[in-house]
C-alpha cells in the first residue's frame, strides 16, 4: 500500500512528546496529520508503552509522567489522526517542483510513500556508548535500553545489574529496577560526590523543578537504604567475561576525567552493565533533507537549528524535541506545541500574529525548561578527558565494522590530509556499518579532534544519507514501477512515468 494519493498537511516523524503535542495542536486546527513511528505504539522512549496484550497495571506511575501520559491518551483518542506505527522512515525529501515533501518508509518489509505539505522531524535521541575494553560484549547495554525493557516489557534484564556513567538518568533507572525487585550490583558516577550533590547550590532550580529533584534524591536515598554500593569518581576501565560480562572493573578518575593511577581500581561482579554517559540528538533525518545543524557539546552533538516556531533552515521542515538539543521530555512537549503552531502558520491555518500570541506562554515555559536542561547538562557533562581515559589505546570505536582506536589513530597519523569526519569514515570504515555511524560518530570525532588538535565542530557530521536505516532490497524493488522492473529488454531505460 502506498499513500501517494493523499497529501497530508503534516507528517510527523516520531510519536514522542514533541510529535504528540504537535499533532494535538495541528488536529485542533483541522489539519490532516499522519504520525509515523518505528515503535508499535505511540509514546516515544519516555513513554514506551506496554504491548496491547499486557495489562497496564502500574505503568509509569508517579508524578513525573502524569502530564505526559495525559497528552498521550488525549492524542490517542483523536479520531481524525492517521497513525503509521511500526514504520521505519527511510528518508524525507522535498517533492521536486511540487509543494511539500515526500517521505519514504517501510513497514513489515512493505515500502510506503507519504506526501505532506509540512514535515516535523522529532525522532528523538539515542545513547552514546562509551568506548572501553569489553564495551561491545554481550551484557553491556545503554541504561535507556535496560529501562525500556522494564517499562514496556516488564523485564529485569540481568541478575546483577551495574550502572556506570555520568548522567543522573542512571539513578532513576537503578531505582526503578530495584523497585521492580531487580538486584543492583552498584552505581558508579564519574563525577565526585560533591559535584553530584552540588545541585543543592541552585535554590531557584530546586524551587522550579522540585519534582525532578525530589525524585532524584528519593532514588539516591532508596538505593542507599537498599545497600547498593555507590561509587563517585569512578569510570569504566574494562568489562570482562568469557562470552559476556561477568565482572566490571572501575578506575578512579579526577575531576578532569584523568585516571588517578595511584588509587586502587575496583572489581564488581555483574552480568549486566548499563551505561549512561551521554545522549546524541538524532538529527540525521532532518540533515538528510538539508536542514542546518550546529554542534552542541553538552546537548547531543549535531543538533538541528530552527526558528522561534521550530522551522528548520528548510522551509516547511520543522524540528522539535531532542533533535534540536537533548533537553528532556518536558521541553520536547513544549517544542512540539510551538512546532504545531509554526506548521499551522506554514499551512495558512493561522496568521503569524495569532501564532505569536499562542506561542508566548510556551516560549516562556521553554526558556525556563532549557535553562534547567542546560544546568543539568553541565552537571552531567562528561569530564573533559573521561572518554579518552576509558578508551585506552585499542578499544573498539565502531561496533559494526570493528574499527578500533588504534586503527583510527594510524589512519590519522598516516594521512595528514584527512580533515573531516566524513573522510575519516571513508578511509577507516568507521561509520559504514548497519547503525550508519550513529553509535561511533561522537567517539570517532572526539578522537580525531584530540589527535588533530581541532574542535569537533570543524570536522563536520557524517553525511546523512538515504536510507536512514538499512532496508530490505526485496521490499524496495517490489515497490518500484512494475513496468520498469518487469522489463527484461535493453529498453529498460525508457522513461517510466
Amino acid at each position: 500500500m502506498t499513500n501517494e494519493a493523499t497529501t497530508y498537511d503534516a507528517a510527523i516523524v516520531g510519536a514522542g512528546p514533541a510529535g504528540l503535542a504537535a499533532a494535538r495542536e495541528l488536529s485542533s486546527r483541522g489539519a490532516r496529520v499522519v504520525i509515523l513511528d518505528e515503535q508499535a505504539r505511540p509514546g516515544g522512549q519516555i513513554m514506551r508503552q506496554r504491548p496491547a496484550e499486557f495489562a497496564e497495571d502500574g505503568w509509569l506511575s508517579g508524578g513525573l509522567y502524569r502530564k505526559l501520559k495525559a497528552l498521550l491518551r488525549e492524542v490517542e483518542s483523536l479520531r481524525e489522526l492517521d497513525w503509521s506505527m511500526s514504520t521505519t522512515v527511510l528518508g524525507v525529501a522535498d517533492a521536486d517542483g511540487d509543494e511539500g515533501f515526500v517521505l519514504t518508509a517501510v513497514r513489515a518489509d512493505e515500502s510506503l510513500t507519504f506526501r505532506a505539505k509540512t514535515v516535523l522531524c522529532c525522532n528523538g535521541c539515542y545513547e552514546r556508548p562509551a568506548v572501553f575494553p569489553g564495551a561491545v560484549k554481550p551484557g553491556v547495554m545503554g541504561a535507556g535500553a535496560v529501562q525500556t525493557l522494564l517499562k514496556s516489557q516488564k523485564i529485569v534484564a540481568g541478575d546483577a545489574i551495574f550502572f556506570a556513567g555520568a548522567h543522573p538518568f542512571q539513578l532513576l533507572v537503578a531505582a526503578q529496577i530495584a523497585q521492580a525487585g531487580g538486584r543492583i550490583a552498584g552505581v558508579a558516577f564519574a563525577q565526585s560526590r560533591l559535584r553530584v550533590l552540588s545541585i543543592l547550590k541552585e535554590p531557584w532550580l530546586l524551587v522550579s523543578h522540585w519534582r525532578v529533584f525530589a525524585t532524584a534524591f528519593g532514588n539516591l536515598v532508596r538505593l542507599r537504604r537498599a545497600g547498593v554500593p555507590l561509587y563517585f569518581g569512578y569510570a569504566m576501565k574494562e568489562a570482562i567475561g568469557a562470552n559476556r560480562v561477568e565482572t566490571v572493573i572501575l578506575q578512579p578518575v579526577d575531576s578532569g576525567g584523568r585516571a588517578r593511577t595511584r588509587a586502587p581500581t575496583k572489581r564488581v561482579d555483574a552480568d549486566l552493565l548499563a551505561m549512561s554517559y551521554a545522549f546524541e540528538a538524532s538529527s540525521e533525518l532532518a540533515r538528510q533533507v538539508g536542514a542546518q545543524s550546529r554542534w552542541s557539546e553538552l546537548s547531543g552533538g549535531w543538533v538541528a537549528t530552527h526558528s522561534q516556531l521550530m522551522e528548520s533552515s528548510v522551509p516547511g521542515l520543522f524540528v522539535a524535541g531532542e533533535v534540536t538539543g537533548v533537553a528532556g521530555a518536558d521541553a520536547s512537549l513544549v517544542e512540539g506545541c510551538l512546532a504545531g503552531l509554526g506548521m499551522a502558520v506554514a499551512l495558512g491555518s493561522i496568521d503569524a500574529e495569532e501564532a505569536a500570541r499562542c506561542a508566548a506562554p510556551h516560549r516562556r515555559r521553554l526558556r525556563n525548561l532549557l535553562r534547567f536542561a542546560q544546568y543539568l547538562a553541565r552537571l552531567a557533562a562528561v569530564p573533559a578527558q573521561l572518554f579518552e581515559t576509558m578508551a585506552g589505546a585499542s578499544a573498539v570505536v565502531c561496533r559494526c565494522e570493528g574499527v578500533t582506536r588504534a586503527d583510527i589513530a594510524e589512519a590519522l597519523a598516516g594521512n595528514a590530509q584527512i580533515s573531516t569526519a566524513n573522510s575519516l569514515k571513508l578511509f577507516t570504515r568507521a561509520g559504514m556499518g548497519l547503525c550508519q555511524g550513529r553509535l561511533c560518530y561522537a567517539n570517532a570525532a572526539a578522537q580525531m579532534a584530540a589527535q588533530r588538535g581541532a574542535r569537533v565542530e570543524t570536522l563536520g557530521p557524517f553525511q546523512a544519507q538515504w536510507p536512514a536505516r538499512p532496508v530490505s532490497i526485496a521490499s524496495l524493488i517490489a515497490a518500484g514501477d512494475e513496468d520498469c522492473v518487469a522489463s527484461r529488454t535493453t529498453k529498460i531505460r525508457k522513461p517510466c512515468r
Binding site: 506496554r50 535500553a145 548497519l434
Partner: protein, 97 residues
C-alpha cells in the same frame, strides 16, 4: 534463564509457542523477540557483540525469523519484533549461529 519477568506470567498476554534456535522457550503474547533473547541469555545478532539500544538503532539484535505461515525466513531487529505463536527465532542474520 537470566534476568526475570516482573510478576512472572501475570499481566502478560497468553502463552505462545516460540522456538529459539530450535528449542521451545517460555513466551507470552506481546513480548518482543529481544526480551526472549535476554531472558534466555542469548547474545543475539553479531558474533561478538550484544544488543545495546533496544530502540532500533544499533542493529546488534538482528535475528532470522521463520514462521509456519510464511514462505521465507526474514531478518529483523529483535527489539522491534513481537514474538508470535509458532515463530522460530534463529540467532543472527542469515540464521548464523
Amino acid at each position: 534463564m537470566r534476568g526475570k519477568r516482573v510478576d512472572g506470567a501475570s499481566g502478560r498476554g497468553k502463552p505462545i509457542e516460540v522456538r529459539l534456535n530450535g528449542q521451545p522457550v517460555e513466551a507470552y503474547e506481546g513480548e518482543t523477540v529481544l526480551a526472549l533473547l535476554i531472558l534466555h541469555g542469548e547474545r543475539a545478532g553479531a558474533p561478538e557483540r550484544g544488543p545495546f539500544c533496544n530502540m532500533g538503532v544499533c542493529h546488534d539484535c538482528l535475528v532470522t525469523l521463520s514462521h509456519s505461515d510464511q514462505a521465507h525466513p526474514r531478518e529483523a531487529r529483535a527489539c522491534l519484533t513481537a514474538a508470535t505463536d509458532g515463530m522460530s527465532v534463529f540467532i543472527g542474520p542469515g540464521g548464523r549461529r
